[in-house]
């Protein structure tokens, strides 16, 4: 901070004081003091999520599946025990070998289960982090924002490309920054590099899908290919943003992604999409397969964007949400792009804060 500034008061009816409006700034003219009222911050509308209603009564469905699962597990255990007993009856050596196998299987199962649980917990943590970030933004909550950023640093601690951004953010944490501003800053510093990488991932997947669709001999083949690509894409996006879900987590993430797509009206053609389709309809006229390829690529891109929103630990506030327009451009321009050297920043990509 510079030297302390002395307090001062200016009468607005003083001839040396001129009041201007923020919309039409004027030169100072002969006035020595210029007063510019600021727009009311109170008029900014804050959206507050209504509380979710708690479900009443017993969760019968969950009870049914748990009980059934328990029975199946018991039956399976019984069968294994029976098998080991039979083997012991035949020969001790066989029995011990089977027992060892069973123990090994149990240990491995425990490891797998704990990994899956950890994955689900991480996914949950990311979702909660996003909710808390939204709350901190809405309330401009100083402590809340600091807690969010600290937890975000923990979530992203394994991401090597953020090493520099992380240390930068550690420094910012100690400075005096308003709650909402801190969350926005964290988004610009920590999320921007990941957003670029995520966009590249989605674009690459969309390209692959469109090419394979265009050249594949059978519909079944490209259906399978699309499925595999999409699942892989969602997983890699989640890994990128730090959620690192296991197999169960991935299923949950796919469900969330599809739900998100439905909520945001993902399938509806946005104006940019129509524009792209009309502009490149010529290609479709030339070849039906090519048109289908472009469409499949578009759908993959949309799904990828939805997956980004679901697995990103902060909401899109300071940075622009990647739009289908950016990606479609990439998708259709791939031939020209291939000739060019890689560019530092793509069109419409906000560059990370320097």
């Amino acid at each position: 901070m510079s030297a302390h500034r002395k307090p001062a008061a200016f009468r607005l009816d003083d001839p040396h004081v001129v009041v201007t409006s923020p919309d039409e700034p004027r030169g100072r003219g002969r006035a020595t003091v210029l007063v510019t009222p600021e727009p009311e911050p109170a008029s900014v509308v804050v959206a507050v999520e209504p509380l979710k209603a708690r479900r009443r009564g017993l969760p019968w469905g969950a009870l049914f599946w748990s009980a059934l699962g328990g029975l199946v597990t018991l039956g399976f255990g019984l069968a294994v025990a029976q098998l080991i007993e039979d083997l012991f009856a035949r020969s001790d050596a066989l029995g011990y070998f089977a027992l060892a196998l069973a123990v090994l299987a149990a240990v491995a199962l425990a490891a797998v289960v704990s990994r899956e649980v950890a994955g689900l917990l991480r996914l949950n943590a990311v979702e909660r982090l996003r909710e808390r970030a939204e709350a901190a933004l809405a309330a401009d909550d100083h402590d809340g924002a600091r807690a969010v950023v600290r937890d975000l640093l923990i979530v992203e601690r394994v991401e090597p490309r953020l090493a520099r951004a992380r240390s930068e953010m550690q420094v910012h944490l100690k400075e005096i920054i308003d709650g909402a501003d801190l969350v926005r800053l964290a988004e610009r510093v920590l999320m921007a590099p990941l957003d670029d990488a995520a966009r590249a991932l989605v674009a690459a997947a969309a390209k692959r899908v469109s090419v394979v669709t265009a050249v594949s001999p059978r519909a079944a083949v490209d259906m399978a290919f699309v499925l595999v690509t999409v699942v892989g894409l969602v997983r890699r996006l989640a890994d990128l943003y730090g959620a690192r879900p296991g197999a169960l987590g991935l299923v949950r993430l796919l469900r969330l992604t599809v739900a998100h797509l439905a909520v945001t009206g993902g399938m509806a053609a946005s104006d940019s999409l129509i524009q792209q389709m009309l502009g490149h309809g010529v290609a479709a006229k030339v070849s039906a397969r090519l048109g289908e390829g472009v469409l499949n690529g578009l759908l993959t891109a949309r799904l990828g964007l939805a997956a980004i929103e679901v697995s990103r630990p902060l909401p899109f506030v300071a940075l622009a949400k990647p739009s289908i327009g950016d990606l479609v451009g990439d998708l259709l321009r791939r031939r020209e792009r291939a000739d060019e050297a890689p560019r530092p920043a793509e069109s419409g990509t906000p560059s990370p804060a320097a």
Binding site: P7, A9, V46, P50, R54
Partner: protein, 488 residues
């Protein structure tokens, strides 16, 4: 101090009282919200604005229950405690909205009951009864007296009165005190004179130029109906020994009256009001302390620490509900935040947090939630950037009340002015280092030299819309913190 019979009886009464209230609360949940703060902290305005916003459905975006439309309506109901005056909400609203002047200050305890009909998040229609209790913060400063003997209190008060700017104000009283002999026979006139001079010293400390806060006993400043009674006619004495007072001496008389003060003033307040609160908001006028100088700021810190020592904070549990009432949420609010540009609000919160750090740590340990917020219950200013020469000053625009002075002349109460009150420091520690090094205030220098100058401004002109809404800063955040969980 080992528990005496009277403290045990006191505890038993508290337990019975809370048991009775718990039984009533099962049918009709009631939340008692204590609103306090030292004189001119803005208690009356805060309650008026809070009730006005609740009744009229004001703009409170962060207050989830109201913003999502779950509050069906709020209404005033007759005040439940027969022995406590009603908070005169209607008169205060009239003063604020129609006459555009700040309502008169709190001189005694008062209470108001607001009933909120709402739908819980899972769809059930519910009712929450909110009892708002308004009492002067000075009374809070009496609570620590319960644990102090007359000798302790005398020594402490005398030590305080010889420090910093207080010494000058207490000169007349000190002179009288030097002539008094504690062992001399009791003398009503000597006691009267001492009490009068002592009260004069306390009143002088409260002047705008000094803005001291730590001034017990509180009833000396706000006597109410006890004015002139023996319980208010005592003063600290210079006591050499800690031996018991000789019978029939002035010392014995003063000691008796001090104990009487505790018995008739402090204990009943604690039992009947303070110990029954569920939630508490402490309003702090930090800006007045900035106006006055570092000594006032230190004093305010001391007063807040003393206040916090008497809060029985801690998480409410089923069992504690039955036996010991506890305050489970405590909010510190630096009021009049509208006299600062919003870039300084975070710094104000930080300074407040610094002042309440120690006590807040203890309350957190006991399980209570604590928050500090810079708010303005009624926002009387707009924000503006003033460009003077090459400086850009983040300022506020408002109408200073008649008689406030700045620079050349006094304001007439109708002229708008843009005011730059000074930058608060990034690091709160800078305000607290050394008694006079931190910054210059009115206590030690003239107005032109002061580092901070906050002028009082008139309430805002009413908005020309169909619904009368009082503008505010972060009142919604305070409400969400204090009431949000009960309206879930």
């Amino acid at each position: 101090m080992p528990p005496t019979l009277s403290t045990i009886v006191e505890e038993a009464r508290l337990a019975v009282q809370s048991l009775v209230e718990y039984a009533g609360g099962l049918v009709n949940p009631t939340l008692r919200l204590g609103v306090t703060g030292l004189t001119r902290a803005g208690k009356t305005v805060f309650i008026t604005a809070l009730v006005h916003n609740l009744l009229n459905g004001g703009r409170l975006p962060v207050f989830e229950a109201l913003n999502s439309g779950r509050i069906a309506r709020a209404r005033l109901e007759p005040q439940p405690d027969d022995a406590v005056p009603r908070f005169d909400y209607e008169a205060h609203v009239r003063a604020l909205v129609d006459e555009r002047r700040w309502p008169e200050s709190t001189r005694r305890i008062s209470e108001l009951r607001v009933v909120i009909d709402y739908q819980s998040a899972n769809g059930r229609a519910r009712t929450l009864t909110l009892d708002i209790v308004d009492y002067p913060g000075e009374w809070l400063l009496d609570l620590p007296l319960i644990g102090k003997s007359f000798a302790d209190w005398s020594a402490e008060t005398l030590r305080l009165s010889r420090q910093g700017p207080r010494a000058g104000l207490a000169a007349a009283w000190h002179a009288h005190l030097a002539a008094l002999k504690p062992e001399s026979p009791e003398d009503e006139h000597a006691a009267l004179a001492a009490a009068r001079l002592f009260t004069g010293y306390l009143k002088a400390c409260r002047d705008e130029r000094y803005a001291m806060s730590l001034l017990p006993p509180g009833r000396f400043l706000m006597p109410g109906d006890l004015a002139g009674s023996p319980a208010l006619t005592f003063a600290p004495l210079e006591l050499a020994a800690t031996s018991p007072a000789p019978a029939g001496s002035l010392w014995a008389m003063m000691e008796r009256r001090y104990e009487a003060y505790k018995l008739v003033v402090v204990r009943p307040f604690f039992r009947d009001h303070f110990a029954r609160l569920d939630r508490q908001i402490v309003l702090v006028d930090a800006l007045a302390a900035f106006n006055a100088g570092p000594a006032a700021l230190h004093d305010l810190e001391g007063a807040l620490t003393a206040i916090l020592d008497c809060f029985r904070t801690g998480r409410r549990s089923w069992l504690s509900n039955l036996f010991r009432p506890r305050i489970d949420r405590l909010l510190f609010a630096a009021t009049k935040a509208d006299q600062l540009h919003h870039v300084n609000h975070d710094r104000l919160e930080r300074i407040l947090g610094r002042m309440t750090e120690r006590a807040a740590g203890r309350a957190r340990f006991a399980g209570a939630a604590i928050d500090a917020v810079a708010l303005a219950a009624v926002r009387a200013t707009r924000e503006a950037i003033v460009v003077r020469g090459r400086e850009r000053l983040p300022s506020i625009i408002g109408v200073p009340i008649a008689g406030e002075t700045a620079g050349a002349g006094a304001f007439d109460g109708a002229t708008e002015a843009a005011m730059f009150p000074g930058d608060l420091p990034d690091d709160p520690e800078r305000l607290f280092t050394g008694p006079c090094e931190g910054f210059k205030g009115l206590t030690t220098s003239v107005a032109a030299e002061a580092d901070y100058r906050f002028l009082r401004v008139r309430p805002p002109a009413p908005e020309t819309s169909d619904r009368p809404v009082l503008p505010h800063i972060r009142l919604d955040r305070a409400l969400q913190f204090l009431l949000g969980d009960h309206l879930a």
